[in-house]
Structure formats: C-alpha cells, structure tokens
C-alpha cells in the first residue's frame, strides 16, 4: 500500500513536472524566437552599417578637396610669382 501511495504521489509530482516542463519549454521557445529576431536584427544592422557608404564617400570627397587645395596652393602661388615677375620684366 505504501508503494501505491508513493506511486500516486510520484504520479502527481510527475504531472506537475510535465506541466512545468511544458510551460518552461513554451517560455524557452518564445525566448528563442525573440533571440532569433534579435540576431536577425543584429545581422541586418551589421550589414547596414557596413554597407553605409556615406563615410567612404565623404572621405573621398574630403580627399579630393584636399588634393584640389594642395594643387591650387602649389600651382597658383607659383603662377602668381611668375606673373609678378613677368609684370616687372614688362615694366622694365
């Protein structure tokens, strides 16, 4: 009889355990879904950040502008000086 009673108790606990496992599994499934969503969003964000060409374009623009400035600064001063010399020669 004692065994039957213990068996009955185990059955009750087993039922509870099964139910708890079901609920836990459901919760875990939900959480895993959330995690997958987050991971997908993470991947998307990675790709978005990497594919963002604004910085590279801006950098290129800046480089171009810098080079233009350099060229202008180097050339035009020389031109100015040459022009000045020419004018002097002309006057003389």
């Amino acid at each position: 009889m004692a065994e039957s009673e213990s068996q009955e108790g185990n059955d009750y606990n087993r039922g509870r355990m099964v139910e708890n496992i079901k609920t836990d599994m459901e919760e875990l499934l939900e959480e895993m879904e959330k995690l997958t969503v987050r991971a997908a969003w993470m991947a998307y964000s990675y790709t978005a950040i990497q594919s963002n060409a604004d910085l590279s374009n801006a950098m290129q623009h800046s480089e171009d502008a810098f080079l233009m400035c350099k060229e202008q600064m180097e050339k035009k001063w020389q031109e100015v000086l040459l022009e000045s010399r020419r004018e002097r020669e002309k006057k003389e």
Partner: protein, 805 residues
C-alpha cells in the same frame, strides 16, 4: 434426532414416556440446535443418552409395572402416531438434505467459478503488475528525460542570459559605433567644407595677392618717379648750400679770433687774482693784530669776571649765612632726630609692650587651647577621669588665676591706653615741630632756587657777552672785508674799534652796574616779596596744619573713645563670658562626673561582654580549627576517593570499552539476525507460495482419492447411499475437521480454503522451513486420517447398534 432419541426412549416398553419424555425432551431440545455442526458431540451425547436411558430404563422398569393396560394401548397408539410422524420427518429431512446437497453442489460450483475468476483476476493482476512495472520504467525513463530536458532548459536559459548580455553589449557598442560614425561623418564633412573654404580662401588670397602686387608695383613706380624728382631738386639746391658753407667758415674764423682774445684776458685776470691773494694775506696779518687786541679785550673781560668773583664772594657770604642756617637746621634736625630716637624708643617700648601683650594673648590662647584639649581628653579618656577631674580642678584654679591675670591685664590695658594717648599727643606735637621745620627748609630751598636763578642769569649774561663777542668778530670780519677798499679804513676801523671797544667796555660796565643794581633791586624786592609770601604761606600752612591737627586729634579722640567703649564692652562681655564659662565648667564637671559614672558602668558591662565574646571567640576559633581539620581530612579523603575512583574508572574503561565493543558486536549480530529473519520471512513467504502449490496438488489428490472412495463405496453396495451421503458429509466434515485442525496453522487453513493459484514468483527457493512445513502437513494428514478412522469406527458402532436395535 429427537425422534431417534425418542426411539431410544421408547425402545424399552417398560418405560412410561410421559414423565420421562417431559424430563428429557428438554435435553433433546437442547441437542437439536447442534445437529449438523458437531456430529461428534451428538454421537457422544447419544452415547451419554444411551447410558442415561439405560439407567432411567432400569429405574422406570420398576415404576411401569404399576401402570394400567389402558395406558399401554394409548401408548401404542401414540407410538404408531409418532412412528408415522417420524417417517414423515425422515422424508422431510431427506428432502431437505437433498436440497441442501444441491445447494452445496451449487455453492461448490459457484466457489469453483469464483476461484477460476479469482485465478483469472490474479493472472490479470500479474499482467497488470508487469505492465505497471513497464510503465514505471517508462516513467522513470521519462523522468530522466525530463530531468535532462530540464537541465538542457537551464543551460538554454544560461545561454540565453549570456546571449542577452552579449546582445546588450553589442547594442551598446553599436550605438557607440553609430555615434562615432556620425561624428566621423560630421568631421569629414567639416573637413571637406574646410578644404573647400581653403580652396576658396586660397583663390581669394591669390587674387588679393595679385592685386596687392599690382598695387605695390604701381607704388614702386610712383616712388621711383618721386625719388627722381627729389634728386633733381636736391641737385639744384647744392650750389646754394655750398655758398652758405663758405659764409659759415668765415664766421668760424672770427669766433676763433675772439677766443684767443678771451684767453688773453683770462691770463690777465689770473695775474690780478694773484695780486689779490697777496692782499688777502696782508689782511690776515692785520687780523691777527686785531685778534691780539681782542685778547686785550678779553683781559678786560676777565676783569669783569673778577668783579663777578667779588660778587661771588658776596654769594659766598650769603652761602655762609645759608650754612649757618643749615647748621641751625641741622641742630634742629639733630633735635628732631633725638626726638625721633626718643619716639623710636617709645615706639619700641610700646612695641615691646604690645609684643608682651601679644605674647600674653598667645599664651592665653594657648592655654585656652590646652584647656580645650584637656577638656577633649576628658571626654575621650574614661580610665583617668579621677585624675583628670583633679586636673580639671587645677585647671580651674589656673583659669581663675588667669582670669585674675586677665583682669589685671585689662587694667594694664587701660593704663597702656592712657599711655598710648599721651604718647600720641606727644607725637602730634613733635609732628607739628617737624612740619614747621619742613616749612623752614622749604623756605631755604626757595632761597637757594633764587640764587640759582641769579646764577643762571649771570650765565645768560655770560652767554650774551659771548654772543657779543661773536658779533664783534663778525664786525671784524666785515672790516677785514672792507680792507680791499682802503687801508685807511682799517686804521680808522682800528680806531673805531678801539673807540667802540672802549665804549663797549664802558657800556658793559654801565650795563653791568645797571644790571647789578637792577638785579639787586630785583633780588631785594623778590626777596622781600618772597619772604612775605613765604611768611604768608607759612602762616597759612601753619593754620591749615593746626586745623588739620585739630581735626585729626578730634577724630582720634573720637576713635579712641569708641575704642574705649568697645573695649569696655568687650571687657564686660569677656567678664560675662568668663562667668558663663565658670558656670559651664561647673556644669561640665557635673556632667563629666555623671558621664564618668555611666562610662564606668559601661566599661564594666563591656568588659564582661568582652570576656564573654573572647570566650566565644576562642570557642569559635577552636571550632574553626576543628572544621578546618575536618575539611582537610574530608578533602584528603575525597581526593583519595577521587583518585581511587579515577583508577577504577581507568581500570574499567578498558572493560567498558570492551563491553561497548561487545555490545556493538551484539547489536551488529542482532541486526544481522534481523536481516536474516527478514530474509527467512521472505523465504518463508516464498515457501508458503510453494506450499500453496503443494496444497493445491494435495487437494487434487484428495479429490482423486475421494472419487476413488465414492467409486469403492458404489461397488460395495447401493444402499450405502446414506453412507455416501455420510461420506459426503464426512468429506464436508473432513473439510471442517481440517479447518478445526488447521486453526493452529492459519497458513494451511488459507491454503485449504483457497484453490491453488498460479503464483507469479517461482518457489524455487528451498529452505529448512519447507521441511518443517512438510512435517506439519504430514501430521495434519495423519490426524485427519485418524479422525476419519475414528469416525468410521463410531459409525460402524452406531450402525451396529442400529442394526442390533
């Protein structure tokens, strides 16, 4: 059974059934209840009734012979009626028996069906048990799987948490990177904008620089033009400047010529300077001559000084007079000193008297203190009170003497007071004289001050002359300055100087005489005025002093009167105190005597108490010593006992340890025995199951044998139906017999009552208990067979009785 018994009764015709049957019917009625249950008892009672009937038959034989034949006929009719009744009863009983046998068979069938059902149920139970075990295993496996799944879930949760943490970190870092990107983007944009601005600024600067260069070129050109113009202009200005230069050279030459002339002039001037210096030297020589003359003037001045000295001699005379006055003053001072000495002596005498008085007072105080100490000692010392009382009386006498002395001292105080007043008056007179002398001294001091003033004036006059000398020297210097003008002026100046000096001397003399006169007059006047003022002041001072002295004397008189009154009061108070002290002393003496008596009594009582207490103390000490000894002995004994006990304990420790170990071993043995008993019980249970099987087999054997018996009985005779019935009955009774026999063996009764089962557990285990069980079974069988044999014998006897009846 009743009728059978009645047959037994009525078998002997001699009996009178009326009285007998009435008496025995009650006994038979009692037997009717236990027909089918206890055949042995019935048959036993039948035997007993036979004996009783036989005895009763013997008794009644004698009584029946006396009755009538009519009653015999009635009896025969009653007998026939009762025989018919008995036959009917037989038939009914037989029908009932048949019915009951049918019921029994039906019940047996039902039992068999139930047994079969029970077997089937047991089969099903076994199957269900197996299923349950399988399901239990499955459940255990499921539980394990659930635990594993739970573990996995926990791991998943942990991984989830880590993942969430990492995602949160990622998000934070992503946000940071986005911000950095944005910042970089903004910086890059700023850089581009800056570079563009730089380009624009560079262009602008270039343009500006070009413009500036152009402008500067133009400016340079203009400047060159201007310079050229200025050069042309300056070239034009050159000849004019050369002309000016020549003119200036001429001017320079003129200036040089002028310089040379000036230099010549300077040389001439230098020569003139030299001449002038020579002149100065000559003037200096003249100065020296003048100085000599000044010295002569000084000599004249010295003469004046001589005159001054004369004056000084006059001063000295006055000083002498002053000295005389000072001598007089000194004499007066000496007199004063003498008076002071006298006063000092008097003061010393007074001080000595005061010291004596103080000493006397101190002695009196000491005596008073001593008396107080003595009185205290009296209160404290109880033993020497008699002597102390005498001492007290002596002290009283001394105190009386002291009181007399105090009175004398008081009288002396009064005389001393008078002396003090006289001396005070004398001191006051002397003080007055001192005041007058002081005033005289002040007057003389004033005179001295006047003389000093005169001397200061003379010094001032000296200073004035010196100043005049300086003025003269200055004038001389002025004359020296005028030497350049002319030498005549020097001579004239000399003459003038001489004249002036003469005039100065004359004037000085005159001035001195005048001053002397004036001083004298002033002095005389001042002296007179001073003397008058001094006199007045002195008089005023004397008046003031006298008034002050009078006031002081009056105050002192008042003070002294007050002191006298106070001292008289004090003396009166002291006298009163002395009287009080005398009364107190008398009272104290009385109290002391009473207290002495009381204290003596107390002392006696206390001595007695002390003796008692000492005796008690000695007793207690003895008791203490004894108790200490007892305690020591007990302590020693206790320690010995403790040591012995400790030794015994140590000795027995080993034994106790051994006992403990033995008991532990016994406990273990008992546990083992219990376990063995449990195992034996289990084995017994197993054997019981085996026995059940055996019993089932035995039952089958019994059935087979019963069938054989039935067949054997049928072969022998058909009329033995009742015997078969009886055998059936006997079978039933055997079963009942087995039940009765197996009451002691309940296990076997269960086996007998139930049909053989197919026990799931194989009874393969054989233990020594099985042998016991077999022995018991054999005994039971033998008992049953003996019972059956006995039954056969009894039936045979009864049948024989019936047959023979």
């Amino acid at each position: 059974m009743e009728k059978e018994n009645r047959f037994k009764l009525f078998m002997p015709p001699r009996l009178s059934a009326g009285q007998v049957s009435a008496g025995r019917s009650q006994g038979f009625n009692r037997c009717s209840d236990d027909d089918f249950k206890l055949p042995f008892d019935v048959w036993s009672r039948g035997e007993i009734t036979d004996s009783d009937t036989i005895s009763q038959q013997v008794k009644l034989c004698s009584e029946v012979d006396e009755e009538n034949p009519e009653t015999m006929n009635e009896l025969f009719s009653k007998l026939y009626k009762e025989a018919e009744k008995i036959k009917q009863w037989k038939l009914t009983v037989e029908t009932e028996l048949n019915q009951k046998e049918r019921k029994l068979q039906e019940n047996r069938k039902i039992i068999e069906a139930q047994n079969k059902a029970i077997q089937e149920l047991q089969f099903e139970n076994g199957k269900l048990h197996l299923k349950l075990e399988d399901e239990i295993c499955e459940n255990k496996d499921l539980l394990k799987e659930a635990a594993a799944s739970r573990h996995l879930c926990n791991l998943l949760k942990e991984t989830y948490t880590r993942f969430t943490e990492k995602t949160s970190k990622y998000e934070q870092e992503k946000e940071a990177t986005i911000q950095l990107y944005e910042e970089l983007h903004s910086n890059v944009e700023r850089m581009t904008v800056a570079f563009e601005e730089l380009c624009v600024q560079a262009e602008n600067d270039r343009l500006e620089m070009s413009f500036k260069l152009k402008e500067e070129a133009e400016k340079v050109d203009k400047f060159e033009k201007e310079c050229r113009l200025e050069v042309s202009q300056k070239e034009k200005q050159i000849p004019a400047l050369t002309i000016q230069r020549d003119e200036k050279d001429d001017v320079i030459k003129d200036i040089k010529a002028q310089l040379q002339t000036s230099q010549n002039k300077i040389a001439d001037l230098m020569e003139a300077k030299l001449h002038n210096e020579e002149m100065l030297k000559e003037s200096q020589v003249s100065k020296e001559h003048l100085r000599v003359e000044l010295e002569e003037a000084k000599i004249s001045l010295q003469k004046a000084e001589v005159a001054q000295k004369n004056l000084e001699t006059e001063f000295q005379t006055t000083v002498k007079t002053l000295i005389q006055v000072t001598g007089e003053k000194e004499e007066q001072e000496e007199e004063c000193k003498k008076m002071k000495a006298l006063l000092a002596a008097l003061t010393e005498e007074f001080e000595t008297s005061v010291a004596n008085l103080k000493s006397l007072l101190q002695e009196e105080q000491n005596r008073l203190k001593k008396s107080e100490d003595d009185s205290k000692l009296l209160t404290l010392e109880l033993q020497n009170k008699s002597a102390e009382l005498e001492e007290m009386t002596k002290v009283k006498c001394d105190k009386e003497v002291q009181l007399e002395e105090l009175s004398e001292t008081l009288k002396e105080f009064h005389g001393l007071k008078a002396q003090l007043t006289s001396t005070a008056e004398k001191e006051q007179d002397y003080l007055k004289q001192l005041v007058t002398l002081k005033t005289d001294l002040e007057q003389e001091a004033l005179k001295n001050e006047q003389l000093t003033v005169y001397l200061s004036k003379l010094s001032l006059e000296k200073e004035q002359t010196a100043q005049e000398k300086n003025a003269v020297a200055a004038e001389l210097k002025k004359l020296q300055e005028q030497q350049e003008d002319s030498k005549k002026k020097e001579d004239n100046t000399k003459q003038l100087v001489e004249n002036l000096e003469e005039a100065n001397s004359q004037l000085r003399n005159e001035l001195e005489s005048l001053k002397e006169k004036m001083a004298k007059t002033g002095e005389e006047m001042k002296s007179t005025l001073d003397e008058r003022e001094e006199n007045m002041n002195n008089l005023k001072k004397q008046v003031e002093n006298k008034t002050k002295c009078m006031e002081e004397l009056q105050q002192e008189n008042k003070v002294l009167k007050k002191k006298i009154t106070t001292e008289s009061k004090k003396s009166n108070t002291y006298e009163g105190k002395v009287n009080k002290l005398q009364l107190e002393m008398e009272n104290i003496n009385k109290q002391h005597k009473e207290e002495v008596d009381i204290y003596k009594k107390d002392i006696e009582t206390r001595k007695v108490n002390e003796n008692k207490l000492r005796e008690e103390v000695e007793k207690m000490r003895l008791l203490c010593d004894e108790t200490a000894m007892i305690q020591r002995e007990t302590d020693a004994r206790c320690q010995h006992k403790i040591t012995e006990m400790v030794a015994l304990m140590e000795k027995h420790k080993n034994e106790y340890d051994k006992l403990v170990e033995e008991k532990d071993a016994e406990l273990k043995v008992y546990k083992m025995k219990q376990q063995k008993q449990i195992s034996s019980e289990r084995a017994l249970e197993n054997e019981l199951s085996c026995l059940k099987k055996e019993l089932s087999s035995l039952k089958e054997q019994l059935k087979a044998e019963m069938e054989e018996k039935e067949n054997f009985v049928k072969e022998h005779s058909g009329s033995m139906i009742p015997e078969s019935e009886k055998k059936h009955k006997s079978i039933v009774s055997e079963e009942e017999m087995f039940k009765n026999l197996y009451k002691d063996y309940p296990q076997a009764s269960q086996l007998h009552s139930t049909a053989p089962k197919k026990s799931p557990a194989p009874c393969s285990v054989k233990s020594p208990g099985s042998a016991l069980k077999l022995k018991t079974m054999r005994r039971m069988r033998e008992a049953g067979w003996t019972a059956l044999s006995k039954m056969d014998r009894k039936r045979k006897i009864k049948d024989a009785v019936k047959l023979f009846a």
